[in-house]
């Protein structure tokens, strides 16, 4: 999931009787699957939760360009370079769709980006891991975008109209990302040297657990999930989504001829799902708090981009003002 641990500000769910008439109308609309639009009345907590979740989601798309940007100049062929650039451009686009959806709630894009740069806003933990070899571009596309798709497909049905519509658009584009990633790995496994095949397994070994962490904490450790589910911002729980992802990914992993770095991973005939080992939650919370391998580097890169691009934005405004003046004269 691109938004992990979103605070809803609620300790306990309200019953319908405890709600104000407005709150009750709102909840009944949500329950009836009627989408909430920007101009409709909504509880303050709903608005704030959405701003937090959508901004985290948008920040993740934007920061998510950085691990891949690392490989644009190092892509092995022109074809791969073009594909990678197209994917990165999509991430920028996804960030912008989401910031637009967030702005319909009355939030300001600059302010939210400032919060990110001040370390006050979160983004997905996954982007704080380094991309060390070319196979990482394959593994990121396949596993990271794959995990994002599982989450985002469900979010297309989220209760807030503008968020839902942004997700529909994003999902359409996302499957290209996953396929191009998987194809990088397939080519390396089919035609690569032993060294290249080892790179694929190494990339999977490093990114497997962080990809599973993308779905966020266990359901019973996730106090905000309940409120988000009632508001239908979230439609499926973290653990459900994680299980879906694992179940659909293992056959693809086996087809590659690779393994997951999890000795407990095995098919469970009874449940019809894969069992898997414990996630290192300390690592997850450390990365989320800012102590992952690349947190500082990612944020300083973002700050540098904004600061060093300031003159371009100023020039654009000056140019627009001049054009306006000329047109008036």
């Amino acid at each position: 999931m691109y938004a992990q641990l979103v605070d809803t500000g609620t300790k306990r769910l309200k019953t319908l009787e405890e709600m104000s008439p407005e709150e009750r109308d709102f909840q009944e609309k949500v329950d009836a699957e009627i989408k909430i639009e920007a101009k409709n009345w909504m509880p303050d907590g709903y608005r704030k939760t959405l701003i937090r979740q959508i901004s985290q989601h948008a920040h993740s798309e934007i920061v998510g360009m950085l691990p891949e940007g690392n490989w644009v100049t190092r892509a092995p062929t022109l074809k791969r370079k073009l594909q990678l650039m197209a994917k990165i451009q999509d991430e920028a686009g996804h960030g912008l769709y989401l910031y637009s959806a967030m702005e319909t709630l009355g939030a300001d894009r600059d302010e939210e980006i400032q919060k990110l740069h001040d370390g006050k806003a979160k983004y997905s933990s996954i982007f704080n891991y380094p991309t060390l070899n070319w196979a990482d571009m394959g593994a990121v596309g396949w596993l990271v975008d794959g995990a994002a798709i599982v989450n985002q497909v469900v979010l297309q049905r989220t209760s807030y109209g503008p968020y839902s519509r942004a997700m529909v658009r994003i999902c359409k584009e996302e499957s290209f990302h996953q396929r191009q990633g998987y194809q990088i790995l397939l080519d390396m496994m089919r035609e690569g040297t032993q060294e290249q095949k080892d790179m694929v397994q190494d990339a999977i070994n490093r990114l497997w657990w962080p990809a599973l962490m993308m779905f966020g904490p266990h359901d019973d450790e996730s106090p905000n999930s309940q409120q988000s589910m009632v508001w239908k911002i979230k439609r499926k729980s973290n653990d459900e989504l994680r299980q879906m992802f694992i179940d659909q990914t293992i056959p693809q992993l086996e087809f590659l001829g690779c393994t997951a770095p999890d000795p407990d991973l095995k098919w469970n005939e009874e449940t019809g799902h894969y069992d898997f080992g414990d996630i290192n939650w300390k690592e997850f919370y450390d990365v989320l708090k800012g102590d992952g391998p690349c947190n500082r580097e990612r944020l300083s890169t973002r700050r540098k981009a904004i600061d060093e691009g300031a003159w371009v934005r100023e020039a654009a405004v000056a140019y627009a003002a001049k054009q306006k003046q000329r047109a008036a004269a």
Partner: protein
Amino acid sequence: MSEWRLYEVFVRSKHGLNHKHVGSVHAADNEMAMENARDLYTRRSEGVSIWVVPSDTITASASDEKEVLFDPSEDKVYRHASFYKLPDEVGHM
């Protein structure tokens, strides 16, 4: 960017179809709004024509005006063809 104006973007996906609202962009001027809209909303040949409109120039109905504006048409069933029952002998009309 806050100092940049917000524009709503409408895309005609095919000749013969209406322009449809697809989202918004920020831009310093109209020309940049068009360029940004093209980059953001038509990366995969989603359109053959784009409109960009400054958001603050749009007059929208408010949600609390819903009844005032739209309820009056609810009790005018005679505005629909299905209100008029024709004998079978008349055939399709």
